[in-house]
């Protein structure tokens, strides 16, 4: 695989120089928000904040947080920093829990975004020779268009096939010799499953690079995806969200030891999500990001609700940029079951080493009497276990013991038939919480 660095000047900058650049950009951002975004101006006045009061980078702790609720409350354009006519693109989230969150990009913002994606795509192994199929749904969602422009920027050949239509995806992959795929981890796995079911040898595919994102991917799931595709298929993880441009905030290099952050654009902090206190470097908590260069909808200390930690040591790949660990969970995805914090990703990593079952799973939380129960449904795929009940029961027990030892609570494991758990082409829904129903 190619081991290039897209922008060595920014990605390999000395830490002291990077911090100086971030400080300079932070001051400019505060000044810009003060003058152009009423929402921030009002808050700054109330808190007595002005750009000249920021002397060192850690002064960022005195700035207010921004939340998704703030974006909804100012729907649609209330937090934009420019007149609507200067906005050249609008994206929006689905808005399942109220107003959608709407974000806008100036021409300059789109340029920065493409640059950020160019870096993660290069880090993940793509280059000007790549032929990429983008299997994210095009539209208001930032994933598809974000990767699209970044990959075009590095000179790759982009096939904007969008999501769904699995047979056509696989046909183009074979006929075009597609070597790079942009998809969610679960869809990438589903494609491999479908290819196998259609009875076409994996030798007919030339897939080498997977830039997978938009939902979490544990190392175990990643290994499984690579194994299913075979032929040296290499998967890297990347991270971003529409409030912070979209994909491109960070991405893994070939060493896959954390996702390199575009620090000249994004100033990251990790906080205690309950108290709001900033944590020390390296500690685990909620990621908070300030988008230093965005002007269409500037974002100061945006609370991502994603749980991670950041490593500031230079990487062996040559980049000096800080690396955030794969997302461990969501502060709002976190299930509290009998007082214990449970992240679906924990269950996933427990399940994926077990070859008798498929990679799809569903957590069902119920309230029985005054107690919560957690049922974990998995698909049995290994027919050779059908000879004796004892073997199936032993498998059930093995899964039960493994998950219980990780979560520390009692669970029930249910074996289900293949394909009985719903598949998703977008973000997978892995939890059904029936406690308040």
């Amino acid at each position: 695989m190619v081991k290039k660095i897209w922008n060595p000047e920014m990605e390999c900058m000395k830490r002291a120089d990077m911090e100086a650049l971030q400080l300079e950009r932070l001051k400019a951002l505060v000044d810009y928000c003060d003058k152009n975004v009423k929402f921030y101006h009002d808050r700054f006045v109330k808190m007595g904040i002005t750009a000249d009061k920021i002397k060192v980078l850690s002064d960022i702790q005195y700035l207010p947080y921004t939340t998704k609720a703030d974006l909804r409350d100012t729907y649609p354009f209330g937090m934009f920093g420019v007149d609507r006519r200067e906005i050249v693109r609008i994206h929006a989230s689905s808005g399942t829990t109220g107003n959608p969150t709407v974000v806008g990009y100036t021409k300059e913002d789109l340029g920065h975004w493409a640059e950020q994606v160019a870096r993660i795509a290069t880090a993940g192994g793509a280059d000007e020779n790549s032929l990429v199929q983008i299997c994210f749904g095009y539209g208001l969602f930032t994933g598809a268009l974000g990767l699209h422009y970044g990959l075009e920027k590095i000179g790759a050949t982009v096939v904007p096939i969008s999501s769904g239509n699995t047979e056509k995806q696989l046909k183009f992959m074979r006929d075009f010799g597609t070597d790079t795929i942009v998809a969610t981890p679960s869809y990438c796995l589903y494609l491999a499953e479908s290819a196998r079911e259609m009875g076409i040898s994996m030798e007919n595919y030339n897939l080498k690079i997977g830039l997978l994102g938009s939902e979490g991917c544990t190392p175990e799931m990643r290994d499984q995806i690579e194994e299913r595709w075979g032929n040296g298929f290499f998967v890297s993880d990347n991270y971003g969200m529409s409030e912070l441009n979209g994909p491109g905030l960070s991405g893994e290099c070939y060493l896959r030891d954390g996702m390199h952050i575009a620090e000249d654009h994004f100033l990251c902090e990790v906080i205690n999500s309950e108290t709001g206190d900033v944590l020390d470097k390296g500690e685990t908590g909620e990621l908070v990001v300030t988008n230093l260069t965005k002007r269409g909808i500037p974002m100061i200390r945006y609370r991502t609700k994603d749980i991670t930690y950041i490593n500031y040591e230079p990487c062996e790949c040559g980049r000096t940029s800080a690396r955030m660990h794969k997302i461990i969970g969501r502060s709002d995805d976190m299930l509290k079951i009998r007082g214990v914090n449970v992240f679906p990703s924990q269950v996933e990593s427990a399940l994926i080493g077990i070859s008798e079952i498929g990679p799809h799973y569903l957590l069902i939380v119920r309230r029985e009497g005054y107690s919560d129960t957690l049922e974990i449904k998995v698909e049995l795929i290994d027919g050779s276990l059908l000879d004796k009940y004892g073997i199936l029961e032993a498998l059930q027990r093995k899964i039960h013991d493994r998950i219980k030892s990780i979560l520390g609570i009692e669970i029930k494991v249910t074996l289900a038939e293949p394909k009985s758990i719903e598949r998703f082409t977008g973000k997978a829904q892995r939890v059904v919480d029936l406690r308040n129903k």
């Binding site: 795929i381 059908l386 000879d387 074996l415 038939e417 394909k419």
Partner: protein, 143 residues
């Protein structure tokens, strides 16, 4: 001399047996014998059919978890003590029975008993030595 038995994993929810058997029906596959045992969550359906290889293929294509297992089919005359004799042969030889089920064959008033044992070869040899009839594959599929 060994019979191919189909095992299908069945979730405990209504309509599943109808779905599985209609896959067989749609492919013109005839069921000779069946047995199902279940726990609270799931069951294993065991089937003897006229075309076991095809049955395995179509059930797999329909997305089911399926396996083929070799079982023994013995013919038991309709007289008191005939079945007990066969059981005694196996127990004397130290062969364990995992499970079994039976049906009445249309010819000569004999019962056909399907056995899943710990050691097929040894069981067949012991049963033959004691003059217990072992049904051939074709005969069972066409019964």
């Amino acid at each position: 001399m060994l019979i191919k038995q189909i095992s299908v994993f069945v979730e405990n929810k209504s309509g599943r047996l109808a779905e599985i058997t209609s896959v067989l029906a749609d492919n013109g596959i005839d069921i000779r014998a069946l047995s199902i045992a279940d726990t609270t969550d799931f069951g294993i359906l065991r089937l003897i059919v006229d075309k076991p290889d095809q049955a395995e293929k179509v059930l797999k294509e329909a997305g089911m978890t399926v396996s083929l297992t070799n079982v023994i089919a013995i013919g038991i005359p309709d007289t008191p003590g005939a079945f007990a004799k066969a059981m005694k042969v196996l127990s004397d030889t130290g062969i364990g029975i995992e499970y079994m089920y039976a049906f009445i064959s249309r010819d000569e008033g004999r019962a056909c008993v399907l056995l899943r044992v710990t050691d097929n070869e040894e069981a067949v040899a012991a049963l033959r030595k004691n003059d217990i009839e072992i049904f051939e594959e074709d005969k069972v599929y066409k019964m």
